[in-house]
């Protein structure tokens, strides 16, 4: 378990995948020699929230109790995740596919993979837009009357998440099976690592929404 006494540098050293998560929590990597508690205090980030998030991403068996997560903090984190994928993960994947096309001139795999990825990204951005316009504002909206169709949108989210995760996992499986011999290994490794990282983040992101955000919102409006 990660605690407030642990140093940022230590937890990042043990699991480099935490780097973007630390960044999204507003904690600077330059604070690496500080404890997480000190870094949170300096950044104005809630320590209990930061620990719940870090432990969830660091350990597959850990997941917070809904009552330990504040909705507004969670939404700020989820929006930060959306911006990260828009600014970093998606352009990185597109760049890797472009390189793959150059490395495999005339081959069908990179061309159809690019088509698949572009369609996936288009749907993902639509999904992000739907969440930010229709779902997240519900948190600050309890005093107003909310049309039942907006609450129905919450259930729609669960289905969308399943598709988002499955399609990414399928792409990775197909690339692993269809990469011909002789293709630059580092490029393929980079692509598969990026896809794996993206998939893991999508799964954890969806878990926060499916297990915490949606049940809490439904409970909020049931009251």
């Amino acid at each position: 378990m990660i605690t407030g006494k642990d140093k940022l540098s230590d937890i990042i050293g043990l699991d480099i995948d935490l780097l973007p998560i630390v960044d999204r929590l507003g904690l600077s990597v330059q604070m690496g020699e500080k404890s997480i508690a000190e870094a949170c205090r300096d950044a104005g980030t809630s320590l209990p929230f930061a620990l719940e998030i870090l432990n969830t991403f660091a350990s597959a068996g850990y997941f917070p109790k809904p009552e330990d997560i504040g909705l507004e903090e969670l939404i700020a984190f989820l929006v930060g995740t959306h911006r990260y994928h828009e600014a970093v993960t998606i352009p990185r994947l597109q760049g890797l596919i472009r390189q793959l096309k150059q490395a495999m001139p005339g081959e069908r795999l990179p061309v159809v993979t690019e088509q698949y990825l572009n369609e996936y990204i288009k749907n993902l951005l639509k999904h992000i837009d739907f969440e930010e316009k229709e779902i997240f504002p519900l948190v600050g909206d309890t005093s107003c009357s909310v049309h039942p169709s907006r609450l129905a949108g919450l259930k729609q989210l669960l289905h969308q998440h399943t598709n988002v995760e499955q399609e990414l996992s399928d792409l990775k499986t197909i690339i692993i099976r269809h990469i011909p011999a002789g293709v630059e290994r580092p490029l393929i490794h980079d692509l598969l690592h990026t896809l794996s990282h993206f998939e893991k983040e999508q799964i954890d992101h969806a878990r926060f929404e499916d297990k915490i955000l949606i049940p809490k919102l439904l409970a909020l409006y049931a009251d």
Binding site: R108, V112, Q166
Partner: protein, 188 residues
Amino acid sequence: MTTGDSIVIHASAIIQQGVKSILLAQGFTIRSLLSGLPVEQEIAGWKDTLILTDTRFASDLRPLVRRLIRNGNRLIGIGSVECVEEWGDVFGEIICTEDTPEVLQHKIHAFILPKQGRDAGNGLTQRETAVLSLVALGLSNKQIAAKLFISIHTVITHRKNITAKLGIRSIPGLTLYAVLNDLVEPQP
């Protein structure tokens, strides 16, 4: 089992992370990274999981091996070259800490690959291939049933088998697979 859940058991956090990155690249999800064996009751509950464990736990695992395999689990030992003879009855494969990342990837990949997939084919029957092609063309279960003169229930059974054999679940994923295997023409 093609890909799915995996559990890594090793006292070294560095080895845990190394094995984790290889498994992620192969399409596995990491259910747990453990530094030691959990209690027997917990182990007995593991199903359809790739378990990679330090060979030092082999003697403790030996009494549980049959039950683990019956539950669809596969076991890979993490040890040294000398372990291969000693613990070959416990583990289906042993990866050595001396192996290069490429060798490790190859060993795990070859181990998880279904036997039928080791041949040129993908293990699909002719009927399943026909259903897959129609799924890739965007037909609904009802349309596929009408086209192939079979019931919707049979179409669903074929689709479940296709997913199990290919490890691909989404319609876009199945379509991509069908295009790459010349079952359908790519969309412009």
